[in-house]
Symmetry: C2
Subunit: 227 residues, 2 copies
């Protein structure tokens, strides 16, 4: 049995256009949009908690947090910064319509930094533009330094690599140099930060990078698009 379905070829193009329009709107209001992507459990939520603490008095952050199910991450983040939970109902990545809706639900229409915590998945989110200025991939030291080459699209389309859980380096076979080299073979322009959230380490350099990028955005210099 077969059936005929009319597919509008412009569906993907329309989503790309909506993402570009969202980015343009955020640029115009001076909000830097940062899409955080990683495997499940790499530490996106913990990094955001530490980032919000470190940015206090220097910038106003907000976050949209994506999950397949539960509001666990939003509950963890609510004490630190304005948050809206995006629940995908099982989908493996966020798309721009959910981001637009979440942004409208946020109790903060003009943050300096708008973080989007994507679904924990090192594959599918690489293919979806959420209107971000920066895509930042997290890699925890416990995942192994061989991951960039195994998940190349995510690293190629990112602006920065944040290595997380550096506190565990004495206990795991992870070489920061090897991960950096593997990642830069794929994306030579990748900025690199080595961080730990418990205890907080390396957070200042990461926050400086965000604030410098924000300043450049407000003087009209946007990060290059990565595809």
């Amino acid at each position: 049995m077969s059936t005929t379905i009319v597919v509008n070829q412009d569906v993907r193009a329309e989503l790309r256009a909506r993402a570009a329009a969202f980015r343009q709107r955020m640029t115009a209001q001076g909000t830097l949009v940062v899409n955080l992507v990683s495997s499940p459990g790499a530490g996106k939520t913990s990094l955001l908690q530490q980032t919000a603490l470190a940015l206090r008095d220097r910038a106003k952050p907000a976050v949209l947090v994506g999950d397949l199910a539960t509001e666990r991450d939003a509950e963890r983040l609510a004490p630190y910064l304005p948050v809206a939970q995006l629940t995908t109902g099982g989908a493996c990545h966020l798309e721009i319509p959910l981001v637009e809706t979440g942004f409208d639900r946020l109790n903060e229409p003009c943050p300096d930094l708008l973080f989007i915590e994507n679904v924990g998945n090192l594959v599918c989110p690489a293919s979806h533009d959420l209107g971000e200025h920066l895509r930042v991939v997290l890699l925890s030291t416990t995942e192994g330094d061989d991951k960039p080459g195994k998940y190349p699209k995510m690293f190629r389309t990112s602006h920065a690599l944040v290595i997380t859980k550096s506190d565990l380096l004495p206990h795991v076979p992870f070489r920061v140099d090897a991960a950096r080299e593997d990642a830069r073979k794929i994306q030579p322009e990748l900025s690199l930060f080595v961080t730990s959230s418990y205890p907080a380490e390396g957070i200042a350099a990461w926050c400086d990078f965000l604030l410098e990028t924000l300043v450049r955005l407000r003087t009209g210099v946007l990060p290059p698009e990565r595809k």
Copy 2:
């Protein structure tokens, strides 16, 4: 602009039928098929190395190993057991045709245990039957004990949960009881194993579970299907 595409509604049904046929064929030849799923870097390859060592002289294993890119995992596994690398070229999960092709390329037509190391992804592989008898989800102690509720389909469709990297328990905020409770809310029949690969711990109980399941398979008792 729009275009008309004829979609064969039976594509998914055909894949399901092929997976069922593969399972039946493996059952008939006495091969237990085990689909290993997890986040990237949870330790599937290391667990397979330790499993192959522990099974030596007791059973003949083989493995099909899936990745988006590179043959890194196959290279790590080749010294331990017969292996065929399945490279998805960017796709976020394995499907049965790739498994069939890989099995034909294996230098071992009648293993006792056929492992399939899926792509590192806690979302998409949950929706694809690879003709396995057992689906086993790995969760590393470094990912956090809140993951089952956040990725419910993977845990609901699995037969066993292997907690990995128990050697790091003293260094991370992971409670085995909390993870077990969260997972069993979703799938009450989930078998649980707590393991470490460096150093090897808890591997014997996991291997006993595999061998007992193999014996039952050969007497006609298959694990229940999980959907």
